[in-house]
Symmetry: C2
Subunit: 242 residues, 2 copies
């Protein structure tokens, strides 16, 4: 079961009318339930207000990274925008296509290059800044995204400042990370769905100062942040040279 | 984390205003979400119709086995009935008391004896016939419950006929059980809640013919069944000698 595309299967099952619960397991054994109330398929009016509000900053031609079931690509497409949706999961891409995304491709963020053409905006919603995984990978990926964007290019990235978490068990997890020289919000996770278990991955949650540091090294700056309760926010990154 | 009272902790957290998701993990890695929409704390009007309907058969002095957060004991108590609620989990018993159950005690079904006094009815709702665990234990426990009840004693037991399951993965699990000489519905489970994981236990789902067999050996007979969708039912057991 380990190594399965648990999350993609859940998205595709749901797209095909068999919704099921995804469980996210942290490497300390902590379990979370994910995707309640149709989060991954939500139409724009049911998005969280900060994601709705920040979408105005997605200008021009847009790349939707980690598109999942396609909610962001669909909204942009409905607004008449040119949008390319990518996801590393073939099953997620299939789900996005079933939902009506016209240009959805199987591609991981680490394989984004000029073959997709240049983008004016790159959207990483639903905490998808987490795909940056860790500090080293974040710098490399941000430089890669800089190369894939026009000089006026923007990144709209969603994440959560976990330093505001008031749960002692979560605080302890973040403190252990820091003690090991990792970013506190570098969280090792896997998805469980039915009898499927995805590979373990690192998922990165970033405070605003941490994001400032990483983006600077990657060729970007934080132009503004749109905040939400619980420490969540969407950061609008612009190029340092711009 | 293994060996924790994950389920009891979840019930108590919820009783104290911190509801959280319980995940049930089967030993083949299949994960289920449990207790959605306040199931364990539901007032009578939000119970499933077959459990509501079958409660009329609970006469006299009642033992509520595996009381959890106490929804069944509370309803009987509100009807002015004498009810003793037991649960093997100290945290669940604490939750039941917080919800207002007056006589809730830490006791497993395998320790029920005459020290509790005799009961006219024993209620095993919420699939709690599952506590019978396997065929051998079921016969022993049913004899023990017979000794704890009056000659007119009844058991109201909830379970599910899993032979009607149309999911191929579940069917395969049940078939493997049968091939190993176990009852098909003998399911090895553990509860996960936050970073807690309960011990693995066997939980028994029974078809009506299987229940007939086990109850006969345990001194009972199936007087009637009240059915619900999905193969679920409440069986009303009466003593063979009665």
């Amino acid at each position: 079961m380990s190594g399965d595309d648990a999350f993609g299967r859940a998205l595709l099952d749901s797209a095909e009318g068999r919704p099921g619960a995804v469980v996210v397991e942290r490497d300390d054994g902590f379990v979370f339930q994910e995707g309640g109330r149709g989060f991954y398929e939500a139409p724009f009016r049911r998005w969280e207000p900060h994601e709705r509000g920040a979408l105005r900053y997605a200008r021009g031609r847009v790349l939707d990274v980690g598109c999942g079931a396609g909610r962001v690509a669909l909204e942009l497409q409905n607004r008449g925008r040119e949008v390319v949706a990518i996801d590393a999961s073939p099953l997620a891409v299939e789900a996005a296509k079933l939902h009506g995304v016209r240009d959805a491709r199987v591609l991981g963020i680490e394989d984004v290059d000029e073959s997709l053409g240049r983008f004016d905006s790159i959207v990483l919603y639903g905490n998808n800044l987490g795909l940056l995984a860790n500090a080293g990978r974040a710098r490399r990926l941000l430089r890669r995204l800089a190369a894939a964007t026009t000089p006026r290019g923007r990144i709209l990235g969603g994440t959560m400042d976990i330093s505001t978490a008031d749960d002692p068990e979560h605080q302890a997890y973040f403190a252990r990370n820091a003690a090991r020289g990792r970013l506190p919000g570098q969280v090792r996770l896997r998805a469980r769905y039915r009898a499927l278990a995805s590979p373990w991955i690192d998922w990165l949650f970033l405070s605003k100062p941490e994001l400032e540091d990483l983006t600077a090294a990657g060729g970007w700056r934080v132009a503004r942040c749109i905040d939400a309760p619980g420490g969540r926010y969407v950061a609008v990154l612009e190029k340092r040279s711009a």
